[in-house]
Subunit: 290 residues, 2 copies
Amino acid sequence: MKFGAIDASGNRFLCGITTENGDTIDKAVFLTETPEKTIPKVIEYFKGKAISALGLGCFGPIDLNPNSKTYGYIKATPKKGWQNFDIVGSLKKALNIPIYFDSHTNLAALGETIWGAAKDSKNTIYLTIGNGIGGGAIVENKLVHGMMHPEMGHMFINRHPRDKFIGTCHFHGGNCLEGMASIPAIERRWHKSLSSLEEDHLAWDLQSYYIGHAIVNYILVLAPEKIILGGLVMKYGNLFPKIRKEVQKLLNGYIKTEQIKNIDTYIVPPDLGEQSGFFGAVALCIRNYK
Amino acid sequence: MKFGAIDASGNRFLCGITTENGDTIDKAVFLTETPEKTIPKVIEYFKGKAISALGLGCFGPIDLNPNSKTYGYIKATPKKGWQNFDIVGSLKKALNIPIYFDSHTNLAALGETIWGAAKDSKNTIYLTIGNGIGGGAIVENKLVHGMMHPEMGHMFINRHPRDKFIGTCHFHGGNCLEGMASIPAIERRWHKSLSSLEEDHLAWDLQSYYIGHAIVNYILVLAPEKIILGGLVMKYGNLFPKIRKEVQKLLNGYIKTEQIKNIDTYIVPPDLGEQSGFFGAVALCIRNYK
């Protein structure tokens, strides 16, 4: 038996085929253009591959409510052409197999829990900091869903006293994490590309400040046992030690756990690199397919 | 068979006896003075009552890790005399029955889920706004625990542009919700008692601003299906409609769910009044005692 899996982000659809145990058989990448351009390529890729089910992690917000008329749709995304697109319906119509659907960041948290950096954790947060900022969460080994999936990249955060930047979020301007700490925010604030910012640039102090504030709030709500930070931004500016220090400074001794004490093993990069979400989609098939 | 239950807050220990189905047989209240004064009265109350188990909801932070040396202890509380007090150990030694232990706000969320305003919800947040601010959460019908219980009353929030108050939190000054929106914060900021603030006082605009910000952040992390606001502060200033409006304003159309649309039935007072935590402690006995 074989499974198909998709990790759909704002940049690319990472598609692949695995065995029923999650061993990779094949992979392919398609750019996230418009639904009209991208989806036919994805369908073409999976057709005739004899997969029994498909796991789909998708950028959001998405509708995960099975009782909703728009279940399986992408909702108020700023990504042009994808608003109100019925992604599950389109794939299901063409492939006619069970499709298991969740946010790509929830699935990144799941992938890291099953095969990655959070193997020993039942309560995990995965945050990706790139062109957008998105987060997923596992509580007691379950993916977090309530009235929808987490959208923690839009968390409201304190403005840094030295920062006058107006922010880039279409919904929350400079009040939310995505508006202040995503790649577009960094590049517009400093009029430089991400890769051209020196390691001692003030940009990285602001990044640690904003990401540190958001992480402290995640900790205060969910008390996760592991926090995984992925996405392109985390590859620059020596951010991990700066963020860890900021989190300890902000908590100021209020939360006294082994994790906060040993913060180097608490706030960590993903073990699965760019593939956390892909393997989470595989794990979703394994969990759900009978 | 009978159960005992305690809801221990910074002000009082609400103690009681119920049937195995949760019907109240008896109740008593003891002030939260020091452990030396209060705990003997609590023990005296339960002794000889033939209860099979005790549910205990306690103010925090508390240690809920069964593998920790300080399991069952109250930790870094600002409440004098209670730091590092072994509350579970003290009661267990005297009563010698199973004790089920959680944060009083987690149990308030549980009580409201089983018998109160969140009966139809699998994902619930309960926030109490009083002398302190504390929150508990249920995800997929499970109490949220990771490396500890939620401490969401200390969430970092944006300062209101017109507010110069330095804050009252021992750990986070004026950066966190408790430091800016608890009763001590309100009364020190305005030099007035809570009950003497007129309904059109600016105080209530600030309260809605701060509580609204925190709720938006809880929504973005947990996407709860129901949010319950309890505590003395919520009885003043006609806060519910103001907070609901603030939440919709801040989200600014990003989260489009039935709950946000019908916000009057989404952000609500507790059905069980002051007894949400007590009944949560009863529910914990029913869930765990075989």
